[in-house]
């Protein structure tokens, strides 16, 4: 009997939920806003699907209905990736400790 590859993916999925659970509980509450913006950025890894869709057109015409949706999704995800990581970086740069020499 062979195991369906779906089961492997499901296992990865469920284990990741557990990792997410423990990792997110250890996030300090003062960084909950950066947490949201960075999860936003990483969930835009959906761009890999968009790239596959965008490049799926045949050699005669790169634009067909399916690839156009792919291209649009690339732009949307790219807004999120750049916007999400940069705004997180901007926020995190503001978190400073008290100056000790005062």
């Amino acid at each position: 009997m062979e195991i369906d590859p779906f089961i492997f993916r499901l296992s990865i999925f469920i284990l990741s939920i557990f990792i997410g659970y423990y990792v997110v509980w250890s996030v300090t509450p003062s960084l909950h806003t950066p947490l949201m913006s960075v999860t936003n950025a990483i969930s835009s890894v959906i761009i890999v699907g968009a790239i596959i869709a965008g490049l799926a057109g045949n050699s005669d015409s790169i634009f067909n209905t399916s690839s156009i949706f792919g291209f649009l999704a690339i732009s949307l995800a790219a807004i999120n990736i750049f916007g999400g990581f940069l705004v997180t970086q901007r926020m995190l740069a503001m978190y400073k400790k008290k100056k000790k020499d005062k």
Partner: protein, 465 residues
């Protein structure tokens, strides 16, 4: 061209880098490094995708154009956005993830061969189910986030929109989504796929309109969670490990944040999601309106009280964000510190419009994060403090939550502001807060109300110190 096995390994690496990105957020010192891990993970995922397709023809250039177009827009927004607008920004970003998931699902449905999922009209059953879930959740995330965005931006009224039969209607639509998915999987009909998307957009919209402005922290966290589940659904369709891992991480992250927010209000998740809170309570509050005496003062009085204090606790809330008073507040605190007065900040979990909202604003105003405390950390200190300075917060300080079992906010954890020797309450008027109930704190002996705009009042106090 990269082999499928090798790309899978790289996708796994990028998934692990994303885990490390979240892990970094456990403390501000490691957080910046964490963000870099996230960026590396993303670069790996995108590069591997290009290499595994290995098609560097015209299509590649078009992809790069769309990628940089989106990247430029995103970078521009990230640099321009004021920190006070962070909740709107996050809601807006969620809607984009949702829409991107919908578009990818549409592409996969129209051209399944590109993803190795079969041929149009004959898509593998498992893939079709995964695709439908991804598309439906993505669509709900999109329209729900748009409504949340409009409410936060103030384009749409923050008050709950309710109508008769709302809950049965929503339940009916949710059941119909499952039914349509079932029909879609058995018939593979394209029309059903479009109907599924339309109905999902509709329910996303209907689910969020009854939820009021101050419940937005829960809504944003919930939509954060949804965007993760949508990504995971697409990840299953594309058999992509990076997407599955990320989807699971984001999904559980959003769910935990929603839970923390609900707990901060002592309300069940369903109570928040079913909405209408505030609308019904407001009418009740107006019925037994009684005039009680309050003490009100001016900036001079406030400055006098603080000058003679040895420790001051500041309680910021959403009003501070609205008035953009965080910088003025920091200047006031600097002056206080020069007079050797100990100052700390107390943040309630649901202060503001999103988790951690106040912390970001204070960080923006250069407040060191080790002067900012969470509710559990600081609540015992109120009894020993001389002055509590409440700026833009209301319900989260209401002692009624501890004393009156009839109150709608009974049981909600509140900051014990009333235990301070004196309380300074900056507020524009005596109007009740979001929960629509009077705050007993206004009428206490030791409370001095400062009726003014938060920013102006803070500046005036600084002048008088």
């Amino acid at each position: 061209m990269l082999s499928a096995n090798l790309s899978a390994v790289f996708y796994l690496i990028s998934g692990i880098l994303f885990i490390l990105a979240l892990r970094g957020l456990s403390s501000p010192e490691t957080s910046r490094q964490g963000n870099l891990f996230g960026i590396f993970g993303m670069i790996i995922a995108i590069t591997v995708t290009f290499l595994s397709i290995g098609n560097f023809s015209n299509g590649f250039i078009v992809v790069l154009i769309f990628l940089s177009l989106g990247g430029l827009i995103g970078a521009f927004i990230a640099y321009k956005i004021p920190m006070t607008a962070m909740p709107e920004l996050v809601a807006g970003f969620h809607s984009l993830v949702g829409l991107a998931a919908v578009f990818v699902a549409i592409s996969a449905f129209l051209n399944p061969a590109a993803f190795n999922l079969g041929s149009p009209g004959n898509i593998k059953l498992g893939s079709l189910i995964e695709m439908s879930i991804g598309a439906a959740v993505g669509a709900i995330t999109f329209s729900g986030s748009i409504i949340a965005f409009l409410k936060l931006q103030g384009i749409m009224s923050g008050s709950p929109i309710t109508f008769k039969g709302q809950h049965p209607l929503n339940a009916l639509i949710l059941i119909s989504i499952i039914f349509i998915t079932y029909l879609l999987c058995s018939s593979q009909s394209a029309n059903l796929f479009w109907i599924l998307l339309a109905v999902s957009f509709l329910i996303g919209f209907l689910l969020i309109i009854p939820i009021g402005g101050a419940d937005m922290p829960v809504v944003i966290s919930m939509l954060n969670s949804y965007s993760g589940w949508a990504a995971a659904g697409i990840g299953f369709t594309l058999e992509n490990t990076a997407l599955i891992i990320t989807g699971a991480l984001v999904g559980s992250s959003g769910a935990i944040l929603s839970y923390i927010m609900c707990k901060g209000m002592n309300r069940s998740f369903f109570n928040v999601i079913l909405g209408g809170f505030g609308a019904t309570e407001q009418s009740k509050g107006n019925q037994n309106k009684e005039q009680r005496p309050v003490k009100s003062g001016n900036a001079d009085d406030a400055a006098f009280l603080m000058k003679n204090a040895s420790s001051v606790i500041i309680v910021p809330g959403y009003g501070m964000a609205v008035a953009q008073a965080q910088h003025a507040l920091r200047e006031m605190v600097d002056t206080l510190k020069k007079n050797d007065i100990k100052v700390s900040y107390a943040i309630h979990p649901v202060a503001g419009r999103m988790p951690g909202h106040m912390n970001v604003l204070l960080a923006e105003a250069n407040v060191p994060y080790d002067e900012v405390f969470e509710l559990e950390e600081i609540n015992n200190d109120f009894a020993n403090a001389d002055v509590a300075f409440v700026i833009g917060a209301n319900d989260v300080t209401n002692p009624v939550a501890k004393t009156d079992p009839q109150s709608p906010i009974y049981g909600m954890p509140v900051l014990d502001v009333e235990k301070c020797k004196s309380v300074l309450f900056v507020k524009r008027s005596l109007s009740p807060g979001y929960a629509g109930i009077d705050n007993d704190l206004f009428y206490k002996e030791n409370t001095l109300m400062l009726f003014a705009d938060a920013k102006k009042m803070t500046e005036d106090i600084t002048k008088n110190l």
